[in-house]
């Protein structure tokens, strides 16, 4: 009879189960999906993150002086789905477990990631190409390290040269 009396008594005895959060740091799981972090050193401006972003939080625009692209991710539009980090081929975008994002209204538009990413240069002709940081060459460019650093035009020429050469060598290279 009256089971709630027992519950209330137990609650009194056990004491509050409140986290001391505003006065002490809150417990956060290490896999907690908080705000995204962008590493401009690894970004190759492929734009897949912008493509998969459901909330349209990511913008990649040419910078004013034309030396690179302005990469921006607005936290006030990001819905923390983590798709960008999932599809990022180089691991430049990751989700941190930082959720301390509350800010005043004046900082509304400054609450974003904004990185200028410089273009790379074609190893042959010096034309502007996507950035080719060393970390990416080591992972994505292992198949054909030379051709990885070329602009599309030089790449076509290099492929053409390969095709013109004897078949055996071509096969070897394709392995």
């Amino acid at each position: 009879m009256l089971p709630f009396l027992k519950i209330m008594l137990r609650n009194l005895v056990l004491g509050p189960s409140t986290d001391p959060f505003p006065f002490a740091p809150a417990k956060t799981h290490e896999n907690f999906r908080g705000c995204a972090v962008h590493d401009p050193e690894k970004c190759i401006l492929c734009g897949i993150c912008r493509h998969v972003c459901a909330a349209g939080a990511i913008q990649i625009r040419a910078s004013q002086d034309g030396s690179g692209m302005q990469y921006s991710l607005w936290h006030n539009s990001c819905v923390f789905c983590g798709m960008c980090a999932h599809y990022c081929p180089t691991g430049a975008l990751t989700m941190s477990n930082n959720w301390h994002l509350a800010h005043t209204g004046a900082e509304m538009f400054s609450n974003c990631i904004s990185n200028l990413i410089h273009f790379g240069e074609c190893a042959q002709c010096g034309a502007k190409i996507q950035p080719r940081p060393q970390a990416i060459i080591d992972t994505l460019g292992v198949r054909s390290p030379d051709r990885f650093l070329l602009c599309p035009k030089c790449k076509r020429q290099s492929i053409g040269r390969n095709v013109a050469q004897p078949r055996s060598i071509h096969r070897q290279e394709n392995l």
Partner: protein, 330 residues
């Protein structure tokens, strides 16, 4: 002439300082703070600090007062003041065992029966004058609940009066609070009187009913009718309503204590007054815990018709059982 003067001075003192006025306000805010804190503890929360009701009042004093265009401004402003003054006067009439025996000739259950609904009247006036449909809903709910909880109150008052009056063998009834207290000083508290036990239960259920807590949080249901009559109030006027409900809490608790167990701890005189006052506050706290805090921690809101029939079906018969027994045994 001087007698009238001292009498009226005494009455003014009683209404403004002790046991009404400042004392009741302070006690009411303290009890509200304790109520919120213990409620939080019952739900395994930390809860606000004990002085939170005071902070709320300070906050409300800094807010802007908005009055709806369509409201009747006079009635709108009058309602909270009416409720608060009515309750302060009632508080001055409440006797405290071993400390204060009430204003002579006024501490009468009939007077209380007229004074106790004043805050409900204030709320009804507030709901009616605020010209909001939710206010009107709160008004009708408040009135409905008032009819429901007045019944067991009247019945238990009668039961107490018959029991007390029947004791001297004349078969009459006594409605004066000091006489009821005297009876209990001689015969022991009515709480431990088996005949009065059902009426005591009815009285304990009346307290959350009139305060609108737990099952009976019907007129001011914040998620249904957006706090009903208080919907349109803001700033200082709302603060007056909060004071009113604090004083009302003290009044109904003191009424419960006076009717159930007003006995002082030690004999009156000297330091005994202070001890008795503390004892009285302790009894109020116990009654608060039983009838308000635990009650509202354990129960949720009923529908209006359920709340009404709860009082009609269960609470009133309890008081009537006591009344009948008191009649038979007088």
């Amino acid at each position: 002439m001087t007698e009238i003067l001292t009498d009226s001075l005494q009455a003014v003192f009683a209404i403004l300082i002790f046991p009404g006025g400042l004392f009741v306000l302070a006690l009411g805010l303290f009890l509200k703070g304790v109520d919120r804190k213990v409620l939080a503890r019952l739900q395994r929360r930390v809860g606000p600090p004990l002085y939170q009701p005071v902070l709320d009042l300070i906050k409300l004093a800094t807010k802007e007062t908005l009055i709806p265009n369509t409201a009747n401004e006079g009635a709108f402003r009058l309602a909270p003041v009416l409720g608060l003054t009515g309750m302060l006067v009632t508080a001055a009439l409440m006797p405290i065992g071993g400390v204060w025996s009430g204003v002579s000739g006024l501490g009468d259950l009939l007077v209380l029966l007229y004074l106790l609904p004043i805050p409900a009247m204030g709320l009804m006036l507030a709901g009616g004058s605020s010209s909001s449909p939710y206010g009107a809903l709160g008004f009708s709910r408040e009135m409905c609940m008032m009819f429901a909880y007045e019944m067991p109150l009247i019945a238990s008052f009668l039961a107490v009066a018959v029991r007390v009056g029947g004791s001297d063998g004349t078969g009459g009834s006594l409605l004066s609070l000091p006489a009821i207290m005297d009876y209990q000083f001689q015969h022991g508290p009515l709480l431990f009187d088996p005949v009065m036990l059902p009426a005591a239960l009815a009285l304990i259920l009346f307290i959350p009913g009139t305060m609108g807590h737990g099952l009976f949080d019907i007129p001011e249901a914040e998620s249904e009718v957006l706090e009903g009559p208080l919907l349109e109030y803001s700033g200082p006027l709302l603060a007056v309503f909060h004071l009113m409900s604090a004083v009302k809490l003290v009044v109904v608790l003191e009424l419960g204590v006076a009717l159930l167990c007003p006995n002082p701890l030690v004999a009156t005189g000297g330091g005994g007054v202070l001890v008795n006052l503390l004892w009285h506050i302790c009894k109020c706290l116990v009654l608060l815990m039983v009838s308000v805090t635990c009650f509202r921690a354990a129960t949720g809101r009923l529908r209006l018709d359920q709340g009404f029939s709860f009082f009609v079906k269960y609470t009133s018969p309890l008081a009537l059982v006591s009344l009948g027994l008191a009649f038979l045994l007088r």
